[in-house]
Amino acid sequence: MKGESKGILKRISGPVVTAVGLEAHMYDVVQVGDEQLMGEVIRIEGDKTIIQVYENTSGIRPGEPVSNTGLSLAVELGPGLLTSIYDGIQRPLEVLVDKMGNFIERGVTAPGLSHDKKWDFKPLVKAGDEAAPGAIIGEVQETNIVTRIMVPPNFKGGVVKEIKSGAFTVDEVVCTLDSGEDVKMMQVWPVRVPRPVTEKMNPDIPLVTGQRILDGLFPVAKGGTAAIPGPFGSGKTVTQQALAKWSDAQIVVYIGCGERGNEMTEVLTEFPGLEDPKSGKPLMERTVLIANTSNMPVAAREASVYTGITIAEYFRDMGYDVSLMADSTSRWAEAMREISSRLEEMPGEEGYPAYLAARLSEFYERAGRVETLNGDSGSVTVIGAVSPPGGDFSEPVTQNTLRIVKCFWALDAKLSQRRHFPAINWLNSYSLYLDTLSKWYDENVSPEWNGLRTWAMEILQKEAELQEIVQLVGSDALPDEEQVTIEVARMLREIFLQQNAFDPVDTYCSMEKQYDIMVAIKLYADLAYAALRAGVAPGRIVTITAKNDLPQIKFTQDYKADIEAIRKAMEAEFVKLREAL
């Protein structure tokens, strides 16, 4: 600890204030004004210390005191994180309602974890065992998820002298080491510093999301990065929420950064009633929410992504696969811009600070599949929404994000307007993980899967070219084979790509079901081209009735018998078509 220092306020201009006479280091947390609002040092200039304040500054006057805590902005990590909802600086919103009612007033602090609650600590090491930094010394069965208690990474570590068992608060010592260090269930970690790992590994396992277009065409790896840019109303939030619900991560951190209050409420009301398709347990039990909505202070919005990713890293260090959604990284960038312009910094592109690109890449760099300090493996997958002004992807936040992330899921207003959801444009989007993941698909889905994907992409690409001709001459003028291609592409779009997030069955589609649907479409295509070669008229081929039942499969839970029946019916119908020749 650097010791307390006091100064006085000299200037207040929105969320940025200036103090004089304060001894400070960059990113120290300070208490501003008579009400001791929380702030953080963001610039030092001669005798002046410039501070961003995490709460509303109205009414604060020059002359009021400022004191430096000497600490960095940090989060409390330990049992109690799961199922919580926090603001951007880890104040629990549930506790704030108790303390100050329905509206968020200022000057109230609340710790991120409950310091009174006792948790059942079960030791996993015994006296005499080695406990290096990152080592797991015990666990707490929280929800259905176990929070593993680790030696903090910034400890020296040593041999366990004494370890306890039983009910403790997060502040009580549960283990002492011969290095003289006391391990508690809670650790405190500065949000702007990535938590250390032994090594970054190559992400080669997909994050299975249950979303056909993602798993099927543009998969993200566990520990990978993805961006979802799109204009307003195109489906960023719905997609992020679907990922938060159905992706096969063990822990989900969902950051509502500068977005709507109601969307966070929706997650809070909906998640406890939904089941994890794998564990059957309520989804809320694996979820941590950070909600710093658009009308909450911008400085805390800036901090919210760091708070979120630090919590994600903490669970990763326990050996979990964590996925983190940030909705929206553009609001985070705008918060940086707002603070930067109050500092009268030289603006870069479109008023964003020159360090925008650096901040974005530092953030995404905290994703990854890693070997943890204790030798286990864990991952943080980062999926960021981007909200480009006017839906124009050439703007700085989208462009700088594109340079870093490996998956690009481009939302398209043209698709959302015609209610093609998810409105992810299959021609512009891409995933750079296809090669590294192909082995997993071979082994876990089917050796045919990678081939089917390539086939589907080719058909869709072909359709786009044909559509240009159709726009000029009408579809009847196309050659026979291409008429069939157009029909197959339409099936791929309407049956495979479209997925209704609000349908209780279709919202999640297992890899197996994705494969079955794809195979059925491919079967139709194969039969159709064969019939065409045998001389059947394309008009008859595209209007066979057996395939009309295929879309219903999406909404059917036990679909196996149905899809088998459709396959048979298609085969039979094509046999008839050829016999009729």
Binding site: P62, G258, T293, G390, R419, V470, F555
Partner: protein, 460 residues
């Protein structure tokens, strides 16, 4: 209260005052002109050397000789139940010849953010009687749903029709309308007031009027006064409040004017970089709170400059609101009222407010199917212009006709035509029945069998 005569700079709506005692950020300021007129303002930046004050009225008449008084508190407004039926100016002064508002409470107009944990998800269907809203872009209680329009289009008529007809079927709870005009013309004001009087709505309404010839910077506080009033009525008195804010474009122009006067680095098209955050501080003041009876529903109107939906004003609004109703010039030219283009329109809270037990089990699917049909039919219009109708397949010809029927029968309705949700959905089915059944891929078989006119008439 101390009065300073240390004004050293006046630039547009900003007054710079030197050598003051410590003054609080966002404090309310009174500026006294030499003729005794008092003007109000707010502190934008404060330091021990200089204080920047944004004046909410014209700065004409303010000079070095004017006195500046800092009130020591942020802007608060008196609120009371007696405000219902009153007409106030854009800064909250009585405009109807009635007495000053006697405060039951004085509230900060900035409005603190509702804690997301305290919010209740909106899910009560509001029937507006307009098919393109009820059936395809459903409004629910506590939603913020703006109307994106263009100059010269009938957005006011639509807003008034909604205000007249909006009801939650089966509910008898108390409702109120808070109407805030920012920079609208006298003529538009008359249109609104005449309608409020004709229908008796004024009794349940609080009206704030900042007209085109009122000071532009006053527009910064007008919506805040309106929303503070709305929150009071909703969360302290239990009313279901519909807030109409018009025209948000004028509000944003005022915001840009202040940004320019402060010599800030401008963002897109000269609007301040913080406009998203500023607009959010208005639009987010809508919703429901757990355990409270009332609600605030927001219907703001904005005119898109050059009909451009990517302009920063509609763009940033759309990123905050829970959907948008887009009024379209082509439909208006075709003589269709209300000229709502459903394709770019959206209600994000629709799913929560519809379906079995709320509206009808087929609602979502009928809506999706109509969208798909209309979108496809609409695209085909472009093709027809090139290749002619005869070159289209039979399927495409039917879709093309569907798009026409959709506009002429579903979109078009009378100014006082109040369609129930059943009527709107049945009308939808009637139009869908013009398409072959196998084209209705978005609707489950069961629903088709239950609601498709073909099967229904057989049963009857």
């Amino acid at each position: 209260m101390k009065e300073y005569r240390t004004i050293n700079k006046i630039a547009g709506p900003l007054v710079f005052v030197e050598k003051t005692e410590p003054v609080g950020y966002e404090e309310l300021v009174n500026i006294v002109q030499s003729d005794g007129t008092v003007k109000r303002g707010q502190v934008l930046d404060t330091s021990d050397e200089i204080v920047v004050v944004q004046v909410f009225e014209s700065t004409a008449g303010i000079g070095r000789d004017s006195g500046v008084r800092f009130t020591g508190e942020t802007i608060k407004m008196p609120v009371s139940k007696d405000m219902l039926g009153r007409i106030l100016s854009g800064s909250g002064k009585p405009k109807d010849g009635g007495p000053e508002i006697v405060a039951e409470k004085r509230l900060d107009i900035g409005g603190a953010a509702i804690n997301p944990y305290a919010r209740q998800s909106p899910e009560d269907f509001i029937q507006t009687g307009i098919s393109t809203i009820d059936a395809t872009n459903t409004l629910v209680r506590g939603q913020k749903l703006p109307i994106f329009s263009g100059s010269g289009l009938p957005h006011n008529e639509i807003a008034l029709q909604i205000a007249r007809q909006a009801k939650v079927p089966g509910s008898t709870e108390e409702f109120a309308v808070v109407f805030a005009a920012m920079g609208i013309t006298k003529e538009e004001e008359n249109q609104f007031m005449a309608d409020f009087e004709r229908t008796g709505a004024l009794e349940h309404a609080v009206v704030f009027l900042n007209l085109a010839d009122d000071p532009a910077v006053e527009r910064i506080i007008t919506p805040r006064l309106a929303l503070t009033t709305a929150e009071y009525l909703a969360f302290e008195l239990g009313y279901h409040v519909l807030v109409i804010l018009t025209d948000m474009t004028n509000y944003c122009e005022a915001l840009r004017q202040i940004g320019a006067a402060r010599e800030e680095v401008p963002g897109r098209r000269g609007y301040p970089g913080y406009m998203y955050t500023d607009l959010a501080s208005l639009y987010e003041r809508a919703g429901l709170i757990k355990g409270e009876k009332g609600s605030v529903t927001q219907l703001s109107i904005l005119t898109m400059p050059g009909d451009d939906i990517t302009h920063p004003i509609p763009d940033l609004s759309g990123y905050i609101t829970e959907g948008q109703i887009v009024v379209n010039r082509d439909l208006h030219r075709k003589g269709i009222y209300p000229p709502i283009n459903v394709l770019p329109s959206l209600s994000r809270l629709m799913n929560a407010g519809i379906g079995e037990g709320k509206t009808r089990e087929d609602h979502k699917k009928v809506s999706d199917q109509m969208y798909a049909g209309y979108a496809e039919g609409n695209d085909l219009r472009g093709l027809v212009a090139i290749v002619g109708k005869d070159a289209l397949s039979e399927r495409d010809q039917l879709l093309l006709e569907f798009a026409d029927h959709f506009e002429n029968r579903f979109v078009r309705q009378g100014h006082d035509e109040d369609r129930s949700i059943e009527e709107s959905l049945d009308l939808g089915w009637e139009l869908l029945a013009t398409l072959p059944e196998e084209l209705l891929v978005r609707i489950d078989r069961d629903l088709i069998r239950k609601f498709h006119p073909k099967y229904r008439s057989k049963e009857a």
